[in-house]
Amino acid sequence: MPALGADMEAGTLVEWLKQPGDRVQRGDIIAVVETQKGAIEIEVFRDGVLDKLVAVPGQKLPVGAVMAIIRSAGEAPAVPPIAPAHAPPPQAVKPLRPAAPAGAPPVPAPVATSGHVRASPAARRQAAALGIDLAALPGSAAGGAISLADVERAAAQRPAPALAAAQGMRQAIGAAMARSKREIPHYYLSTTIDLEPALRWLEAENMKRPVTDRLLHSVLLLKATAVELRSYPEFNGYWTEDGFRPVDAVHLGVAVSLRQGGLVAPAIHDADRLALGDLMAMLRDLVRRARAGGLRSSELSDPTITVTNLGEQGVETVFPVIYPPQVAIVGFGAVSARPWIVDGAVTPRRVLVASLAADHRVSDGHRGARFLAAIARLLLEPDRL
């Protein structure tokens, strides 16, 4: 079970998409796992032949648990297949049930029907079927024993699945952001960028493009950020137990708000190397999949920095919170027309505020300021994007 972000502790297997004996390649989608971020497609991380499926659909597994065994081509099949010691036994957990919130107080296992709980056999059966923890229920029968009616009452009071999923996501976001504010010494910078040249370039470019290929201005912001990260590696990577680990590739996490509330920030891989049209296509696809379900495991597990654009809502300046284990986040506000001084004369220009929150364990404001200034400069010459 891969860690799909720092805030994930467990996931529930929904289905296998490959069968034992199938040849798999790195990047193939092998399974769908339900997490607090929705249903995620799990990619294979090595080439080989699928030998054995260890996890069963409906099973909730902690991060790091073995889900399946893949052998390299030529390697003998594992006979008899042995389930690794740290893979938990299958639990009767219903699929699509949100995972326990990461970092939240430990929640009793859903079907931990401890022998100390007094309950009628019918109540036990129904609780197991519904995934309700008997130990958490008040009993109304003689001696405080739990009756079938108590279980039915608890089932009726449970939040609807959509609401439960939203609560799960809220808890996951809260846990990650609490960790960020607790552990990361943030510093914040902002600068106003003259976006007029970029927007004029974009308007001319979009006149040449069919409606299906048109670009949004946010694509220019993403590209400029990704390109400049190559020169500012101290903002691109992860904070680990051994300190900062920079990453050569730029996997740009893009904050996407979900219609039902909450947000995810999946990565656009190698964003610095993509042509604007390709970056736009990736962004459209990513937003669609973030909202409809179908994000891939690598997109959630490996963003090296995040960009958040709240300009749509008219926000002038974003004060973003770093998503651990990343060490920086760039925010963009709304485009607005302002009196601006160009060559000594006041002239109306469309401008936007770019902001940076970065980790003081890794960088200082001086470098952060240079990074933001470099993004602003690049956007003045959109041809270079």
Binding site: N206, T212, L216, S218, R259, L283
Partner: protein, 86 residues
């Protein structure tokens, strides 16, 4: 195509980007953005959906004319050669 069919096509395109939208509750004079939670990506997808259902290519400079239902009806009816929508 009749005006009623055009209205239907517009609301269907809008519903494809904002599934929570209730078509009957859309005020034709209020901006879509003030009634439903859509961003520029959603709006672009709305324009693409219209392009796919009506076969029209709306240039970016005309986007503001489609910001509410009345405006979109007027603009698209003209493009399609229908009689005035209102």
């Amino acid at each position: 195509m009749t005006n009623a069919e055009l209205k239907d096509a517009i609301l269907t395109a809008l519903g494809s980007v904002a599934p929570e939208m209730v078509a009957a509750e859309i005020d034709p004079k209020l901006a879509f953005r003030d009634q439903i939670d859509i961003d520029s990506m959603d709006f672009l997808n709305f324009i693409i959906a219209l392009h796919q259902s009506l076969g029209l290519d709306v240039p970016e400079s005309d986007y503001p004319r489609l910001s509410n239902l009345d405006g979109a009806m007027d603009y698209l009816a003209k493009k399609l050669g229908l009689k005035s929508a209102n």
